[in-house]
Each structure stands twice: as C-alpha cells, then as structure tokens.
C-alpha cells in the first residue's frame, strides 16, 4: 500500500509546474500540521488536570490575533498568486497547435477525431479512434472537448490534465507530452451507470512514429 504523499510520475510540459505547486503546499501545510498538532498534543499532556493547579485566567491577546491573522493570510495569498501563473499557463494561454483533435465524450466512450493528411479538421479525410488518443511527443495537442449527452470529465492523470466535457459547449484543452509511452484516459465526472467503463488509452509516439501511424489510419479509414 502506497502511503507516500509523493505524486506519481508525470510526463507533460506543465506537469512539473503543477507538481511543483503541490509540493510547495505540501511543505507549508506539512509544517503547519506538525506544529499545530504538536502543540495540541503537547498542551493536552502538559496542562492536563493536576490537583492544586488552577488554569490561567487569560482572555486573549490582540497582538496574537493580529499575528495569526496576518501570517496565514499572507501565506495563503502568496500560494494563490503563485498558483495563478501555472493556472494561466494551462487554462488560459493555449499554445499554437502541433496537432488539433476533437474529443467527444458520450455514455460511455470517448470518440477522437483527427484531421487526417490535409491537417484540417472537419474535412473528408478526418479519421476517428474509439477510446484512444494517439499523439506525438513534444508537440502541443490542442483538443476541442465536447460531450454528446451528459457531463463527462476528460482526465489524463499522467499529463496532469483534467477538463469537464459539457454538452452544448466546445471547450479547449491542450497538453504537450514529453515522452513516448502508454498513458491513461479517464472520465472524472459521474456520468451514469457505465462511468466506471470510460477508461481509455493515451498513446504518445515519437514524431516519426506518429506520422506513420497517422498515415496508416487515414488510409484504413478512407471512405
């Protein structure tokens, strides 16, 4: 059983930043945890009832109130500010696409549409895969995320990517994988009876391998 608070390995250009914020928070909350719980247990032990000793008659200290208001406030706001940068990178600043695809979730599968040899989506040479997303490494994959029925959530754990798919909306989500391999696609929003079966595979290739795969797919799925 894995009791570690370390995150599993991640493989995208942003995952390092996301994991970094996590570890910053882990340090801060971890230290706070040990100090506060430590004080709690220490006080329980040291000030437990003993005959003849009376409690102190102390109503408070404005100085302490100010201190333990301002210090946490500064810390959490700092965490917020640092987080914003990474958030903007992931959700706001969409890089130019190396590969554009459409991912459409429906009960209970993911349908992925690729642009085909002409490089443009929405043309007759587009092809599809079911429950698989094939992508080249080191290129920004920009996804137009859709849903055909209910809310789903497109989750690439190893890429640290998650975005709800909302019916009636086209939502942009992107990632850039840094290493070829087989990864996971998951659905992270309860979508009905088959929610548990909406797993898929993210397969990242080298650029050359992806080219090869893409061409053969396009040929196979020629109308």
């Amino acid at each position: 059983m894995n009791w570690s608070w370390m995150l599993p390995p991640s493989f995208s250009t942003v995952s390092g930043d996301i994991d970094g914020i996590y570890y910053v928070i882990l340090w801060i909350t971890g230290i706070t945890f040990f100090i506060t719980e430590g004080l709690l247990f220490y006080f329980i032990f040291k000030y437990r009832h003993k005959e003849g000793r009376k409690a102190a008659y102390d109503h408070g200290s404005t100085k302490m109130e100010i201190a333990w208001t301002m210090i946490p406030l500064v810390i959490v706001l700092w965490i917020g500010v640092v987080s914003k940068g990474v958030w903007d990178t992931v959700k706001v600043d969409v890089p130019p696409a190396g590969l554009e695809v459409i991912v459409s979730g429906k009960q209970f599968e993911w349908n992925v549409t690729y642009p085909g040899p002409d490089g443009a989506l929405g043309t007759s040479d587009d092809f599809e895969t079911l429950n698989e997303l094939h992508a080249p490494e080191d290129e920004a994959v920009v996804i137009t995320l859709r849903s055909e029925d209910v809310l789903h959530s497109f989750f690439l754990p190893e890429m640290r990517i998650k975005q709800d798919a909302v019916p009636g909306q086209d939502i942009t989500v992107w990632f850039e994988a840094v290493q070829p391999g087989d990864y996971t696609i998951g659905c992270a929003e309860l979508c009905g009876i088959g929610h548990t079966t909406m797993g898929g595979k993210l397969i990242v290739y080298t650029a050359a391998d992806f080219q090869a795969w893409s061409s053969s797919q396009a040929q196979q799925q020629q109308p």
Partner: protein, 603 residues
Amino acid sequence: MSTIEQEMVHAAEGGHHDHHELPFIRKYIFSTDHKMIAKQFMFVSLFFLVIGGLLATMMRWQLGYPGEPMPGGMILPDAMMAPTPDGAIMLPEFYNSLVTMHGTIMIFFAIMPLLVGLFGNLLIPLQIGAEDMAFPRLNMISFWLAVPAGILMLASFWVEGGAAGAGWTSYAPLSASGEWTGVYLGQQLWLASLTILGFSSLVGAVNYITTVINMRAPGMTWFRMPLATWALFITAILILLAIPVLAGALIMLLFDQTLGTGFFRPEVGGEPLLWQHLFWFFGHPEVYILILPAMGIASEVLSNRARKPIFGYHSMVLAIIGIGFLGWIVWGHHMFMSGMNPLLGTSFMISTMAIAVPSAIKTFNWLATIWKGDIHLDSPMLYALAFVSMFIIGGLSGIFMASTPVDIYIHDTYFIVAHIHYVLFGGSLFAIFAGITFWFPKMFGRLMNETLNKVHFGITIVLYNLVFWPMHNLGLQGMMRRIYDFTQYEYLAPLQPMNRFISISVFLLVAAQAVYAINFFWSIFRGEKAGNNPWNSNTLEWTVPSPPPHGNFPEMPVVYRGPYEYSAPESEEDFLPQTKPPSKKPPVQDPIPQPVTPTPEGF
C-alpha cells in the same frame, strides 16, 4: 388574538404557563416545547446517521471486494443486486444510488438536523435566557416537515428505477432526465424530499434568528452570548439566504424532469453550468452550515473542560461572522474544472484562500484556550479535542484543492473525499459526539457512562483515521470519485489492497458505533443522575434543573458577565456563572468592566 400573541401576553404577565399536564400526543408527538423538538430531531437524525453509515458500508463492500457477492445481498431486490449462484453482486446502478444517497442522507438528514435541529433548538432559548423559541408552533411545524421529507427520501429506494443516482450534487444533464441514469421517479422523489426539507430548515431559521435578536434576557448583550449561540445564529442566517436558492434550483430541475422545460438541458437550449452555479451558490454556505455549529459546540466544551476562558472571544465571534460572510463568494471553487471562464477560477481561488484565514484564527484560539488550562480529559473533552485535531487536517487539505492548478489533478478524486470526511466526520460528527455527551444530562437528567464513551472514543478515533487518511493517498494516485469498479483502470489496480484496508476499517468503525448507541439508550434510563450543573459551567442552561421545566426559567434571568469566566480570581470556585450577581467588594483583578446594574442595551 392569535395564540402566538396570547403566548406573548402570558409571558409578559410573568412567564408562567398553566401547568396542566399535557396529553401524551401534545407532550411527545406534537410538542411545541423547543427541548422536546430538539430531542425529536436528535432521535430521527441519529436514525438517519445509522442509515447513512449502512449505505457507506455497502459502498465500501463493492470497493473493497469489487464484483464479489455481498454478504446479505440476497435480501435486496434484483434491481439493486444481480443474483448469481454464489450470492448477490452489486450492480453499478445501485452503487451510484448508494453514493448519492449516502451523501444526501448524511448531509441533509443526519449532520444538518443534528447540528441545527438538535443543538439549535436545545441551546438557543436556554443559553439566551428565553422560555422558548419566538414561534413555538412554527418550531413544531419545522420538525414535522422534516419527517415526511425523510420518508420520501427513504421510499425512493423502493420505486422502480431505484433511488437517485446522480450524486448528492445532482449535476445536470445527468439528473435532468431518466434516460441518462435509468432513474425516473427516484430522482423526482429526491427533489421533492429536499424541497420539503428546505421549508423545514427555512422556518427553523426564521425562528432562530428572531429568537436570538429579540428574546435575550436582560444583560445578555450580543457579546455575552456563548459561542454556540453565536455560531447557530450565523448558521441560521446562512440557511435563511441559501436554502431558497436551492429550492429554486430543485424546482427548475423537477420541471426539467417532468414538464419538459429546458433550464439545464442543452438539447433544448439549457445550460448545465447554470445548475452548478445555483447548486453551489447554496452548496458552499451549506458546508459552513455544517461546520459552524460544530465549532460553537467545540468552543463551549473546550473552555469548560479546560476551566479557562475562551481565548480571544471577540475574534472568535468575528471569525464566525467572517466565515459566514466569505462563504458566499467562494462557490466557484467547486467548479474550477467545469468549463467556466478560467478568470473566474482565479478570483474564486483568491476568495477561497482568504476563507482559510478565519478558520485558522479559530484553530489558534482553541489551542490558546487549552494552553495553561486545567484540562479535564473526560469524554466530551476528548471528542472536542479530536474535533480540533481532525479539523486541522481537513482544513489544511483544503488548501491543496483551493489552488487551481493542483485542483486540476485532484478534483473529483479521493483526495476531495478525504477532505470532505475530515471536516464532516472528523469535524462535525466528533463535535456532535462532544455535544450530545456534554448536554446529555441537561436533556435527560442523567449522565452518559464515561467508560463506555472513552472506549467508543478510542476505537472511533483510530478506525476513523484508518479509513479516511489513506483516501488522501488514493486521490494522489489518481483514483476518481463515484467509481463502481476502479480496477477497470490499469493504473488504479495497484490500489486494491488500500481500498480493501479502508473497507475493513469501515466495517469495524460502523460496528464500533454500537458502543455509543448502547451507552446512549442505556444512560437515558439508567445513567447516573445529574444535578443542574454537572460540568460546573457558566452558561444559563446550567442554572436550571436537568431537564429544565416547561418555560425553562422560573424567574427571568439577569446576566452580569460573559460566558467564559472560568478560573476567575474573584470566584472561589473555578467557574463563575453568567447569572451570579457580582459580590459587593471590588474584585482584585478585573480586566472586564462589570456593570453594577444590568443594562439590556448596548453591546
């Protein structure tokens, strides 16, 4: 004149009601006495707490032993469990209903009515020196609305299609049409039940707010009110303003399901995100409704059992108000991944980070309260200390999900489930244990058995942490929520042993609650008899007999000081009740100016 007005005239004429014995039905069933209504809420809510626990037990069976026949499963209908030669295996539709109903029942029918229905009703009039609530008959209506709501909710398990299965958050469009879940009537019963319960909570809130504003005894200024009453007062305001928004949303969803309207259904132009905004605009204040009274209870018990004034009383009040106020502007942190504008994500992150501060302030003040105290480690204190300890964990884990980039990874994973349960179980439920144990003598005239409570506490605190701490790890490994069979995901299959470990801990934890239940019922009849003030407390409820008579106070109480004057130098004992008149000789050390005559006005 109206009966309510008659009651007021009665009260004005000396506060004595005719003490004719009420018939059984008026005394125990349709009671207008806040203390009886409090007990009614308590019994019904504890029943639902058990139901909620059983639902979780079944869920954990499936997670610990995926696809294996569940012991006892054969008695459940085929719609829930698929019969096989080896026994009954849980179906995914039933699993989704379990997830949904566990959350719904625990939040709406267990924790909320325990904190607000039990403690609000029991404590508010007694702690402010009133003879009952402002509107006793409305109070009775509040309870008797909650009962049919509960019946409807339970009944939904037996209708065709089963109970609601879209999560306690009931996101649309999944919840808006039975074609997506296979649940039709069950989902509608869920909506109807919560709408009725909403009315119950709403009229309760009107009662509590009016009572606290208008019916405080002479000398009971705002800043002499106990923190439990403050917390319940602010909670009532949150209920008053949040529940109507939920009601509107529930009604719109019900119309979508039954009338073919299109509020949340994109196929006819509706907006799924509108549901989320409405739900969470209610939902976030709701979670503060679920923790504030617990914080109030903890403050009472910690101060009393440490025989020491609450550290920073004014800050504590301001923190309660601050949490109540800030709670309205953070709802979007439940929606970071929803597809709403990322800029909104940033603004909600900032407000969410800010709301950590008042909770931190309270935690530091609790630590400072027991610092240099004279700590009596009896069972209410143990539960209250556990509240602080577990709340620290729950609160700190919240910071991870408040950070939008980290939430990308942990949203809708078991990390969130861990956070929820550390604040709701580790926090609220432990505070409820503390509160029930502490005020048990006031309710029943007898004390609970200390040894049994300590045994219960010891077993529960350990098993509880064995259940919920590893859920942080599961979430960090990427295990998502509401998932019937996570082994379908290759990367999650290694989490099987930890899930089984959690499940076994749950079975033991649920079983161990029998200790508290046995103690509870046994003590009602055979517990050691309690006097007026077994805890040597300062607040007004302890100046009257246990249990208090109808009308509470034989004479109008007069309040001379705040509620936390423990170990005050001018008192021989280590407590100084709020209503004890000040002695004639000037006190040696008097940091708080004491009024010589009680003045009702002013802060």
